[in-house]
Symmetry: C2
């Protein structure tokens, strides 16, 4: 089968890879309908993470083609959405809602889903079938649920966005934008998007942002304070993962406020003394997307939300290299790859 390979930083190509087969009785194999490029794929693409002959991708929707003997929740022919971590969904950690840290978790990045087919471990716990074959216009939104929507949703939940709350969002990538959508759905009163790109500001407003702050760093923090009687936001979503973005998020929250952080942390070191006196709640990490999938699929199926709008470039899998370039150069917010 064909699959995306990162030969070395900046070098993406389509390679031949072995067709996946069932390895465990709990596995399924799916034929992908679509996959996409994640902001986190840019870390190795830019050389910030190690990358050598690395098969890529961890987001996926598609049709089940094979199931192992122990799989009972999912049938061949089902159209399914899964998270970027496979999880058994039965262990104590999963039952507490932290499926991305399941005691048997398998990162789908190691499976590499920018490909024609993918093996999905722990299929019963990982995959959620849609109510039927989706209309093609639902495909982008269902694909978004696989990671970027679920991650933005988790960030908003971790930040305790809700009625009466002012939510600030650090990061205007797809996750930050979908954090806005999530905060809006969760009932937030006011949502401040921090963005300096007109196209992203527009999408932010469409998803529910009430205010835009273009300043960054300490200036950005001051603007958030100006907009919140000097106190800071109740809830802050962090969707970048750098030192600057983390400190901007922590400083934008009021004492007792909540910071939900989902940007994959790179070279971040949090000063204990400042954190202590900031007195915020801090929660985040790899989003337990599986916790939210049934609800998100339902909202998408009923066309209550349109998270697929973050895909502003769609290319066939074979043109993945152009997709990486477009995201790297910020010409695209998020790229869908079709099969």
């Amino acid at each position: 089968m064909r699959g995306v390979l990162l030969d070395r930083p900046g070098q993406v190509r389509i390679a031949d890879r072995p067709d996946p087969v069932l390895l465990e009785p709990t596995d399924a194999v799916i034929r992908l309908a679509a996959t996409c490029i994640c902001g986190s794929d840019l870390w190795p693409y830019r050389g910030a993470d190690p990358a050598e002959h690395m098969p890529m991708g961890h987001e996926y929707v598609g049709t089940v083609t094979e199931i192992g003997d122990a799989v009972s929740n999912i049938a061949v022919g089902d159209f399914v959405v899964g998270s970027f971590f496979a999880s058994d969904n039965t262990c104590e950690i999963c039952l507490a809602g932290y499926q991305s840290r399941c005691v048997h978790a398998v990162p789908m990045g190691a499976i590499a889903t920018q490909a024609e087919y993918a093996r999905v471990p722990l299929a019963d716990g990982t995959l959620v079938a849609t109510p039927g074959r989706p209309d093609s216009d639902l495909l982008p939104s269902l694909l978004a649920a696989s990671d970027v929507l679920g991650t933005g949703w988790f960030a908003a939940v971790a930040a305790e966005a809700g009625p009466g709350k002012t939510v600030a969002v650090v990061g205007d990538g797809a996750v930050g934008l979908l954090g806005i959508l999530a905060a809006k759905r969760l009932g937030a009163e006011r949502i401040i998007a921090m963005s300096r790109h007109a196209d992203r500001q527009e999408l932010a407003r469409r998803f529910g942002a009430t205010d835009i702050v273009v300043e960054r760093g300490d200036e950005g923090v001051e603007r958030i304070k100006d907009l919140t009687s000097g106190l800071g936001a109740h809830s802050v979503i962090e969707a970048v993962g750098t030192q600057q973005s983390m400190m901007q998020a922590i400083r934008s929250a009021r004492p007792g406020g909540h910071v939900g952080y989902v940007g994959v942390s790179h070279d971040v070191s949090l000063p204990g003394g400042e954190l202590f006196f900031a007195e915020v709640h801090l929660h985040g990490g790899p989003a337990p997307v599986r916790r939210f999938l049934p609800e998100l699929i339902d909202l998408i199926w009923n066309r209550a939300i349109d998270p697929g709008a973050v895909f502003d470039l769609t290319l066939p899998l074979d043109e993945a290299a152009e997709g990486y370039r477009a995201m790297d150069e910020r010409r695209a917010i998020k790229v869908m790859l079709t099969l």
Copy 2:
């Protein structure tokens, strides 16, 4: 009046200080019945914080001797307990339960309550009167409520200790020990005290600890994992404030678990990547003791809890220097100074 002065690290003496007077109409003046030495007083005593001719103390109980014109909740003659931060208890931050970060907060350490009298700013918001003149045996517990009990209580609340939860406690000082008491009152099922001192282990068990772990650092973490099916504790109380204790706390919590940290942070730097993948909730800072005071005073008044047991050495104020030595050398858990 007489008051404790830290001349320089290691050098404590009783000095003459001016009698406090009302400076603002919202002030009260109290005559102290007792004060005490805090674990955090040891930072400047040991030279880890700057210290030069510094009046000391931030914990206090006593009788109101004067009130300003704007004070209405408190009357002359009332016996009162207050927090180590004065707060208006009416601002948005106070109303959300974060009185230690009140927009008008005044640190009582700047007032210096190891003395015969103290001015208490924002008396209406800061002081809570007891139902009557306390019996002398209640004095240690009421004094504990002023900081060390309220701080341990906040840590347990921040760690979401409660029914069905396993709580690990890092730090066997007075705050850690009272975190155990709080976790027990909050209904925790299992409480693991991390301590290697026999006297503190005994108090830990008396306050509700079900298990003792003597190992520290990564070995301590492994023991917590052993006791929790390899998952880690649901709730972890951190009551030290060092790099080692913070990492021990974070690593002892399961994914999705809660770390409540109240040890005043010293030279702590939290690695973003590890924190990200740990996926714990982190919350702490200077405890908003005022939030809990009415409930704590009620529990003490009704003899439902006995937090005063952490005072294992009582000295007259004039012997404060010996009190500091005893705590520094860990001969005493916590020292009460009487007047």
